[in-house]
């Protein structure tokens, strides 16, 4: 029984020969994947039907061999179980060669890959031992020896199968197509089957061509081991001239020169989305011209990077597409929700910082919590609740918290128990989240959990593929984090007849009508070389027994050749000429190469610039209604329906013509001041008063802390009859200060107060202390009498009651004059000129109202800055307020004038508010004001 090896161009006569053998001999046709198998069967069935033709994947072939050899179904441990074994072995001793890297979260997965690769090449630990090696490889060899007996890897099963094949008495004929490479065990299996059955292999390889250099060594070895070798010249038939030229001449010296047909297009775009859009637009154009969608392929260099953007674009445009890529467990919504639970479990019961993970879990659909309740729960907690785990778990009752409690308990049992608890929580969460019609999200979550459980372990023929170099998010602590860090699973999506979304590796062996190749820019395709720190230094020693690493330059070249050969009708090459931030991006050498082959000048391309990267320029050719409306909107056009309505919302109706405050009677002084300063600021801050979820302990909070301290302190001093804060009384003031500070701190301390808060309290104490010293130094004569005094005066402005709170009222010893003091955090200016009346209502009105209330005359008012100890304001020169403040004294009639001006301004504000007058923002306001949101 012979093994015949046909070699030739992709989809060329070599493949035809193998298919012909299948047709002739019957038996099994082996193809790359299940989709390819379905396609091959469908092609063979055509409009009729066929009997006795089977198409399988390599895994299917192995299954058949196992069945015939009586081996039974292979049982494989979960990948995570393999990692557990490795982790336990690592923990046993120091590994100087690996150094600190052995503790890194990506280490286990990389180590697992390396050991897998050794096993796949059937290299035993003994073969590594003994020879001088660099320290990391020495460690690898020792570790490999240590775990050798306790590991059963998928590749071991494959070898077992290959070995069994040699002992079979007979086997149906086998033909294999669509491969350019085989793993060592796959080759061994086929070679052994070749001893008992007719085996016909078609491998993509054209001897002597530069593009195949990556395969020279292996194909030579296999050719030598084949019973018969047939090299085929010639390429796939029936293709446009340009496509044939590309497949035939890529990376060769000769080239055919300019070829006048439209089978190849070069498109340059700005940014990644622009690139994806351009590719998709080209493919849709082909689909609209009759190429079935399933015959179109969109190819990107790295699916992990492009997946999300493409998924959204395809969904937006309503393009059914199919793709499979690897995703990280921790990146899925379920993985994230479970991570939040783990984080919650990791915190000590009294440790702060539990609110975020708890809410992260409760907000996820997996918790099964009522979202309205969660909203309120969050609001209440952030407005003054504590943030420790014990407290929060106590407050949130119900089943949603149970998984967290279980995980906390499992943490004591080590990583295995944690993983099991995580799985339980995951399945329960998925049951909460899934609806009556399970869809894509359910599949993804289930696939993630199955991967965690090891139920979906699958053998990748490209073991070295799939290293994901994107950053990881925060990981669970310790061993669990290292186990989960790089746990990935296969995420599949879409109907079989949809547009194919692939990476360059996935395109191998596949044939389409129209192919759009994206990422033909520097760093895209070819990608950066992927070094192999574990096995790299061993490759030379193991002389060709390890397969070449995927992203090497030769390998990338072969991939590109196959990609270019995958199109039967049209090839679209797409590159970014600038990245998303507008930085130049160089073209890929392959881009240049295609231009050279087809005789186009280096700059030849259809370039999409400006908004064309993100919007279509012709509404009539828009892929979706929304795109069409967007195109109209940006072109300054409108159409009846949603677009016209949206354009109508570009401006909002401003003003209060309905006079909602016409009957208002009570007005706060600061309310009026706000209105006079800026009516929109007033509307925002004083009328709408939107409350943030959490009031940060910021400047405003600091200000109220100082206010409260001064109020308490002065109240105590007044009650103890200590009198004004003079040098004589100062020691009493200072003596009481620490207690007052402690008392206020007790009342105002935020939930998560730490060192910064403590420093703030200490600093405030110093500020107040310095303020008291400064007050004493100013030689005050009035006596502090009233603090936080509510003002409510119906006499100041006719027809309105004026309200407010005066921080402090000092009165003269005879009680005939009252002075209003307002504390400001760092200070405030009192503009005493006639132009700024509106900015200084507070002091005159408070002084006047307070004086009314204590039966005295108003003497003036002062702003006192707590942190800077500044004092500004005005007072009657005939009242001895303080020796040190002489420069603020004014004639009594001027003070009267200031008061009258303030009353008139307040009265004007009252009228304006009642009339609903709302003038635009003043020059002082910028768009950065919070109330800028209203001014549009």
């Amino acid at each position: 029984m012979p093994l015949v090896l046909h070699r030739g161009a992709p989809f060329g006569p070599a493949e035809a020969a193998a298919r012909e053998a299948w047709q002739r001999l019957g038996g099994l046709l082996v193809v790359r994947d299940a989709d390819a198998a379905t396609r091959a069967l469908a092609e063979a069935a055509g409009t009729g039907a066929h009997l006795d033709r089977e198409v399988v994947t390599l895994a299917g072939l192995r299954g058949r061999v196992r069945r015939d050899a009586g081996l039974g179904e292979a049982e494989l441990p979960a990948p995570i179980a393999t990692r557990l074994v490795l982790q336990e072995a690592l923990a046993g001793r120091d590994w100087p060669g690996f150094g600190e890297a052995a503790q890194a979260p990506g280490f286990l997965a990389a180590l697992e890959r390396a050991i897998n690769e050794l096993r796949r090449a059937r290299i035993r630990p003994a073969e590594l031992a003994g020879e001088p090696m660099p320290p990391p490889q020495r460690d690898l060899a020792e570790l490999y020896a240590r775990v050798d007996g306790s590991l059963r890897l998928p590749t071991d099963v494959d070898w077992e199968t290959a070995d069994a094949a040699g002992g079979l008495p007979a086997f149906p004929p086998v033909a294999l197509v669509g491969f350019d490479d085989l793993s060592p065990d796959a080759w061994a299996l086929l070679r052994r089957l070749g001893d008992v059955a007719e085996v016909t292999l078609a491998l993509v390889y054209e001897p002597g061509r530069a593009a195949y250099r990556a395969r020279d060594e292996r194909l030579a070895a296999w050719a030598a081991a084949a019973d018969r070798l047939v090299d085929h010249r010639g390429a796939a038939e029936g293709r446009p001239e340009a496509l044939s030229a590309l497949a035939g001449f890529l990376l060769e010296d000769a080239h055919p020169g300019p070829l006048p047909n439209g089978a190849v297009r070069w498109v340059e775009t700005a940014g990644s989305r622009g690139m994806h859009r351009a590719a998709l637009e080209e493919l849709l154009a082909a689909a609209n011209h009759g190429t079935p969608l399933a015959r179109c392929a969109l190819v990107v260099p790295r699916l992990a990077d492009a997946r999300d953007d493409l998924d959204r674009l395809l969904a937006d445009w309503g393009v059914p597409a199919r793709r499979a890529s690897r995703a990280r467990f921790l990146e899925t919504p379920l993985g994230l929700a479970l991570t939040q639970l783990i984080r919650l479990g990791e915190l000590e019961p009294e440790e702060p910082g539990a609110l975020d993970p708890l809410l992260g879990w409760l907000r996820s659909p997996y918790a099964g919590a009522e979202q309205d309740e969660v909203d309120r729960f969050e609001r209440d907690l952030r407005r003054g609740g504590g943030d420790q785990r014990s407290l929060l778990i106590g407050r949130w009752e119900g089943v949603a918290i149970r998984p967290a409690i279980e995980l906390v308990a499992a943490a004591r049992g080590g990583p295995r128990a944690q993983l099991a608890a995580l799985l339980r929580a995951g399945w329960a969460g998925l049951a909460n989240a899934s609806g009556p019609d399970p869809g894509r999200a359910d599949r993804r979550d289930a696939a993630a959990l199955l991967a965690l459980a090891g139920l979906a372990s699958e053998v990748s023929e490209d073991a070295a593929e799939g290293e994901d170099q994107r950053p990881r998010g925060p990981l669970p602590r310790g061993a669990l984090g290292r186990l989960l860090a790089d746990l990935t699973f296969r995420d599949e999506e879409g109907p079989p007849e949809g547009l194919a979304v692939l990476d360059y590796a996935g395109l191998r062996g596949r044939r389409f009508g129209v192919v759009a190749l994206c990422g033909l820019d520097a760093g895209g395709q070819p990608g950066r070389p992927a070094p192999d720190p574990f096995l790299g230094p061993l490759r030379a020693r193991l002389a060709g027994r390890l397969p070449p690493r995927a992203a090497g330059t030769d390998e990338a070249r072969l991939r590109f050749l196959q990609a270019a050969a995958a199109a039967d009708e049209r090839l679209v090459l797409v590159r970014r000429f600038v990245d998303d931030d507008g930085r130049e991006v160089a073209p890929s050498p392959y881009w240049m190469e295609t231009l050279r082959i087809l005789g186009r000048p280096p700059g030849h391309a259809d370039r999409r610039t400006g908004a064309r990267g993100e919007l279509v320029d012709d509404p009539d050719r828009a892929p979706s209604m929304r795109e069409a409306l967007r195109a109209l909107a940006v072109a300054g056009r409108s159409a009846p329906g949603p677009l016209a309505a949206a354009l109508g919302r570009r401006r909002r109706a401003r003003g209060l013509p309905g006079r909602p405050f016409a009957d208002r009677e009570v007005f706060n002084v600061t309310y009026l001041e706000a209105y006079l300063r800026c009516p929109y600021g007033w509307l925002y801050d004083r009328v709408l008063q939107p409350q943030p979820l959490e009031q940060p302990f910021d400047a405003r909070a600091e200000g109220s802390f100082g206010h409260r301290v001064l109020e308490r302190l002065f109240t105590q001093m007044r009650d103890a009859d200590v009198g004004a804060c003079t040098y004589a009384a100062l020691p009493r003031y200072l003596e009481s200060l620490p207690d007052v500070i402690a008392e206020v701190d007790e009342a105002l301390r935020p939930a998560a107060a730490g060192r910064v808060h403590a420093a703030f309290v200490a600093r405030t104490e110093r500020h107040v202390r310095d303020l008291l010293l400064a007050e004493a130094a100013a030689w005050p004569h009035l006596v502090p009498k009233l603090f936080e005094r509510a003002i409510d005066d119906a006499a100041l402005v006719p027809g309105a009651r004026i309200r407010g709170t005066a921080d402090r009222i000092d009165v003269s010893s005879e009680g005939d004059f009252a002075l209003a003091i307002d504390y400001k955090r760092s200070g405030a200016e009192f503009p005493a000129d006639d132009e700024h009346v509106a900015a200084r209502l507070q002091l005159p009105l408070y002084a006047e109202a307070a004086a009314h209330s204590v039966g005295a005359a108003s003497a003036g008012g002062l702003y006192v800055g707590i942190t800077r100890r500044t004092v500004d304001g005005r007072f009657r020169e005939d009242v001895p307020v303080a020796d040190g403040l002489g420069k603020l004294a004014i004639p009594p009639e001027r003070w009267r004038q200031l008061v009258d001006q303030a009353i008139a301004a307040a009265s004007g504000a009252v009228d304006g508010i009642r009339a609903g007058e709302l003038a635009g923002p003043s020059d002082l306001c910028g768009r950065w004001c919070e109330h800028g949101v209203l001014w549009r």
Binding site: P495, A522, S638, G655, V933
Partner: protein, 1078 residues
């Protein structure tokens, strides 16, 4: 491509292992580099992987790569099979960071990093920095630090200083930054004694003024307590002659002690700060390690570790572009590469990255050491302009050793007439202070003048020192109808569109976030009027939450539905998808696009989507985390900048920073806001030099900080460096121009470009630069009305494009059992076939199984396998075969089950059917496939017999226990099976087929259907109808409690009501439900 000039040729051919090339602006250094690299590869046999080319940023690397490729493409000679060398991706061309990243990836163990490390971008780095700082601040209990935190104005300055010191020391090559605190101060006792003595001398005076007494007493108190007063005690010297010497002596002693005490306190604070920094650096390091991540600086530090350990790199050529911007760590890496030949190209006069710790002295030193070659031919600026610039800049950079005049080599190119003179300094003056808005009007007029004289819009670049204040300029240009394009602006978070979309997302996270609610309502999402908003507040009541009141204001209620809809998308859409949905919600995107500059507004939204995408790639769809991160970015003033609408051909005036146009050229350059002065800088409470020497401005509550001696030194050094850099920025800005330069400013601030150039111009007398003053125009009153959005042109509504639907069954491969499964439970079909979920757990329903200990399926399999092996006409197999087969299949021993299987097989073989089969040509287990409406139907026929009469007999064995039922009653779904098999046979060429479904328990009542060619259409219709039922039927679960058909169903894990039924938990779920981990 033109051949290199003589100067460039000399640089390319320069001998020696170390070459430094000083390349002036516009001197064609890229041309020289490209040529040198091309020659290395093409003529000198250097392989791409032996080449290391470091550039200062990604765009420069890309540009260089593109130029090298173009150089090869240009080359007519071709390179034969070795065209492989074209593949520069195997070579080392990139930024320092990316090249170092590659070194580390190749040697993670020597570097001590994660072998699968990831690179953190700036945003992710900033987030970790802040976390580490929070932790360090909470943990550091050094008394000096505690004091510093109390004395400083809040934690912010301390954080800023810690961040800056950390960054600076790492750039200088420190792995874990540590400060060198100064040595302890000398003993204070002599100073105390001295002050006591001198104070006593003052106090001894009998006639002493009160203030003098107080100062002397304050001095004594300071000596006694060691507490630093607000200022040094000091007696006024306007006193009697006799007192004067004593007071002077007292003042000196008081000042000395004051200094000493201050020094001690400052030192304590500095030690505390050093302690904080160490904690911060360690915590930051730990955090990164925990996730296996490296920041940009780590890449270089780790690469240095690899190189120091002696990694096997043998570079033949190292080229460094813009060497003047290299920092000490990068310089060390260059040394460690140990290349055969290292060529650095730079221009000391263009060193403008001091904030990244570049030091132009490095270039000068290298040039001095290796004898720099110079490229001084300028191919950019027209000779009259270059003459003016040479003279003007010579004055501005008079003290800069790197400055050298350039030789005019630019060929005359067609363009607008050169102005006479081609350079000008414009000062905007007014009665009072001139505002930026007023200056902007003048800039706009200058630009308008250039346009009038024949420049195209795209020919003009308006350059700024920073873009933080660019809006007035943009507005002024737009007022004159001049289109402009901001090349990279700031203010991203201030854009209404960005803020609106984020507000809606904040509501999705929690609708009680009221600032977000008000914004969303007021935005084009609803365009709520002022009155409606007031109505909302009234409906809610004072201080009550607004959200529940939304229902009371009908015009606003729609938002609740929008938020609910977006919440429903959270799981499915992912973070970026959610954001895209938020952007399109209530047609917000259309409103934004319909505003002035709609495309730019939309581009900003798209940038936000990209940010969400990159966040989610790291952290998953964590909306809460994303919003928090953006909030933190805003707080840290980390603005990602406005989105760019890339269109090189766009005919608009470019607005950019000077840094943003490095390496570019424009026909006309306007340097605007030139009197702006140095942005940022200064004010740090701690200053650190690259060696870790540090000084502090001691913090004191209520007083301004007191700088230590070393602080003053470091501050002076930094100031001098900043000032020199400011001059170089002027150089870079002006040398971008080909034909014309205008510099516009108002009241010049010290150190600003305007002042530097004004001073230089003052010393010039050749008239090559025009100085003019323009009176500031009065500004229109601001803010009275907003610009109206453009009035849209009405068109008819577009038709929706036809949907691109595909049949979900097309292209699928279905077996009859899958279709049968659908008939049993559509939900299971959805899970297994549509969603391709693997089998679920086995369900042991407890008690004796109705179908015996082996189960119906296992018995059926045994019988089928046995019959498939049977050679028809041979006798029945010997008894005992069933037990043996069961043992091989791992079934428990059961005489009853085995007996039944053997009995059934024996009956079949004894039946007349067996003779009929034996008479024909029989083949068992025959695979078949056929397509119906694009769906591939496949399966295995139990037995196909070619009968002697040419007919075809298809037999299917049914091993069910009939339990009293008639076989016909059980046919149900099997009729479809018969139709499929029949169709397959007809399509495969059979003229007639008898389909005989044989129930082993009732051999005498076979279920037979005979089909012939004419039936094909009807059979197809039957199959089609079955497929339609699958396609159109809802995926309902067939049960809500465990049933036998649920065995192995993926729905048992979740998805199906059965998974939640208590009986499911009770039924032992067999199989690896926990992956064997529990």
């Amino acid at each position: 491509m033109s051949a290199p000039s003589a100067e460039q040729r000399a640089a390319i051919d320069a001998p020696g292992a170390q070459v430094a090339v000083a390349a002036g602006a516009g001197s064609g250094k890229t041309t020289m580099l490209v040529e040198a690299i091309w020659e290395d590869l093409e003529l000198h046999g250097v392989r791409p992987e032996e080449l290391f080319v470091a550039t200062y940023n990604r765009a420069a690397a890309a540009h260089l790569q593109a130029r090298v490729q173009a150089r090869f493409a240009d080359d007519a000679s071709g390179r034969g099979r070795d065209r492989a060398s074209l593949d520069l991706s195997a070579g080392w061309v990139g930024t320092f960071h990316s090249l170092c990243g590659r070194i580390v990836r190749e040697h993670p163990f020597a570097a001590g990093v994660d072998p699968a490390f990831a690179e953190l971008d700036e945003t992710a780095t900033a987030a970790i920095v802040e976390e580490a700082l929070d932790e360090a601040i909470e943990r550091c209990d050094h008394p000096g630090f505690v004091d510093l935190l109390v004395q400083a104005w809040g934690p912010r300055p301390v954080r800023d200083a810690a961040r800056a010191a950390h960054e600076r020391l790492r750039a200088a090559g420190q792995e874990r930054p540590r400060l060198q605190t100064p040595p302890p101060p000398p003993d204070r006792a002599p100073l105390i004694a001295q002050l006591r003595g001198r104070a006593a001398a003052v106090l001894e005076r009998t006639t002493l003024r009160e203030d003098h007494r107080r100062e002397a007493e304050a001095g004594l108190e300071m000596a006694a307590t060691g507490i630093l007063p607000a200022r040094p005690p000091r007696g006024g010297l306007n006193c009697t002659k006799e007192l004067k010497p004593d007071l002077k002596a007292f003042n000196e002693a008081a000042a000395a002690l004051y200094e000493a005490i201050a020094d001690r306190e400052a030192r304590q604070q500095l030690e505390g700060f050093a302690d904080l920094l160490a904690g911060f650096a360690d915590g930051y390091e730990r955090r990164k390690r925990e996730r296996g991540a490296l920041d940009y600086e780590d890449l270089q530090l780790a690469a240095r570790r690899v190189l120091r350990a002696g990694a096997p790199y043998r570079f033949r050529r190292v080229y460094v572009d813009e060497y003047q911007d290299v920092n000490p760590l990068q310089d060390e890496i260059l040394e460690l590469l140990g290349a055969e030949r290292t060529v650095v190209v730079g221009d000391g006069a263009q060193s403008i990255y001091g904030f990244r710790h570049a030091d132009p002295a490095r270039f000068l030193a290298r040039a001095a050491a290796h004898g720099a070659l110079a490229l001084r031919d300028n191919y950019r600026s027209q000779p009259p302009l270059l003459a003016a610039l040479n003279c003007w800049l010579a004055g501005a950079l008079a003290n800069d050793p790197a400055f050298a005049e350039l030789r005019p080599m630019a060929a005359p190119v067609p363009g607008p007439a050169l102005a006479e003179p081609p350079a000008e300094l414009v000062t905007v003056s007014g009665d009072g202070a001139v505002s930026r808005e007023q200056e902007a009007l003048v800039v706009a007029e200058v630009v308008a003048g250039l346009l009038e004289s024949g420049y195209a819009h795209r020919d003009v670049a308006v350059l700024f020192r920073s873009l933080t204040q660019v809006e007035p300029y943009r507005a002024a240009l737009e007022r004159l109808g001049i289109p402009c394009h901001l090349v990279a602006g700031g203010g991203f978070f201030q854009h209404d569109q960005v803020a609106d979309a984020l507000a809606l997302l904040a509501l999705v996270e929690n609708p009680f976030d009221e600032p977000a609610l008000v914004r969303a309502l007021a935005s084009p999402y609803l365009a709520a009027s002022d009155e409606e908003l007031v109505g909302l507040r009234t409906a809610a009541g004072e201080r009550e939450p607004l959200w529940p009141a939304l229902a009371a204001v009908p015009a606003l209620d729609g938002l609740a539905a929008t938020v609910a809809a977006l919440r429903g998308l959270r799981r499915e859409a992912g973070l970026a998808g959610l954001l895209e949905a938020a952007i399109a919600a209530r047609d917000y995107d259309l409103a934004a696009l319909g505003m002035a500059e709609g495309a730019r507004r939309f581009a900003n939204l798209r940038r936000l989507v990209r940010m969400a995408e990159s966040f989610a790639a790291v952290r998953g769809p964590d909306l809460r985390g994303f919003l928090a991160l953006l909030e933190a970015q805003k707080d840290l003033a980390q603005d990602p900048g406005e989105a760019v609408l890339v269109d090189p051909a766009l005919d608009a005036v470019r607005l950019s920073t000077v840094h943003g146009v490095k390496g570019q050229e424009f026909p006309a350059v306007v340097l605007a806001d030139a009197s702006h002065g140095t942005p940022g800088g200064g004010g740090q409470i701690v200053r650190v030099d690259p060696d870790g020497r540090c000084g502090i401005r001691m913090q004191r509550v209520g007083a301004s900080g007191a700088p230590s001696a070393l602080y003053r030194v470091l501050e002076a050094e930094a100031k001098a460096a900043e000032e020199a850099e400011e001059r170089r920025i002027v150089y870079v800005a002006l040398t971008r121009a080909q034909r014309h330069v205008s510099v516009v400013g108002r009241t010049p601030r010290a150190g600003s470009a305007h002042q530097i150039l004004g001073d230089a111009l003052g010393a010039m007398d050749d008239g090559s630069v025009l100085a003019r003053t323009v009176a500031a125009a009065a500004l229109a009153p601001a803010g009275s009305e907003l610009p109206q959005p453009p009035v849209p042109l009405e068109v008819t509504a577009p038709l929706p494009p036809a949907p691109l639907a595909v049949d979900r069954l097309r292209g699928r491969r279905l077996s009859f059992s899958a279709l049968e499964g659908h008939a049993t439970c559509p939900l299971r079909f959805r899970l297994e076939v549509d969603l391709r979920l693997p089998a679920g757990p086995r369900l042991a329903l407890g008690g004796a199984s109705e179908s015996g200990p082996w189960g119906a399926a296992a018995v059926g399999t045994l019988i089928h396998e046995r019959l498939a092996l049977q050679r028809w006409g041979d006798p029945a197999p010997a008894p005992g075969w069933a037990a043996a087969a069961a043992l091989a299949a791992g079934l428990p021993p059961s005489a009853a089950e085995g007996g039944r299987a053997e009995r059934l097989v024996a009956q079949v073989l004894a039946d007349s059917l067996a003779q009929r089969i034996a008479a024909g040509r029989a083949a068992a287990e025959r695979p078949f496939a056929l397509l119906v409406d694009g769906t591939l139907l496949t399966g295995f026929m139990d037995l196909v017999v070619q009968e002697p009469d040419g007919g075809t007999l298809v037999v299917d064995w049914k091993s069910h226990r009939l339990e009293g039922a008639e076989p016909g009653e059980l046919m149900g779904a099997y009729r479809l099976q018969q139709a499929i098999y029949g169709l397959a046979m007809l399509r495969a060429g059979a003229a007639r087929a008898e389909l005989r479904w044989t129930f082993l328990d009732a051999l005498d009542a076979p279920q037979v259907r005979v089909v012939a060619g004419a039936d094909a259409g009807a059979l197809e219709d039957e199959v089609r109808a079955a497929l339609a039922a699958v396609r159109d039927g809802p995926p309902t679960a067939a049960a809500d409690r465990p049933q036998p058909f649920c065995d192995g169903c993926p729905g048992l894990r979740a998805f199906c009501p059965v998974s939640r039924h208590p009986a499911t938990a009770a039924a032992a779920l067999r199989g690896p439900a926990g992956g064997g981990l529990a």
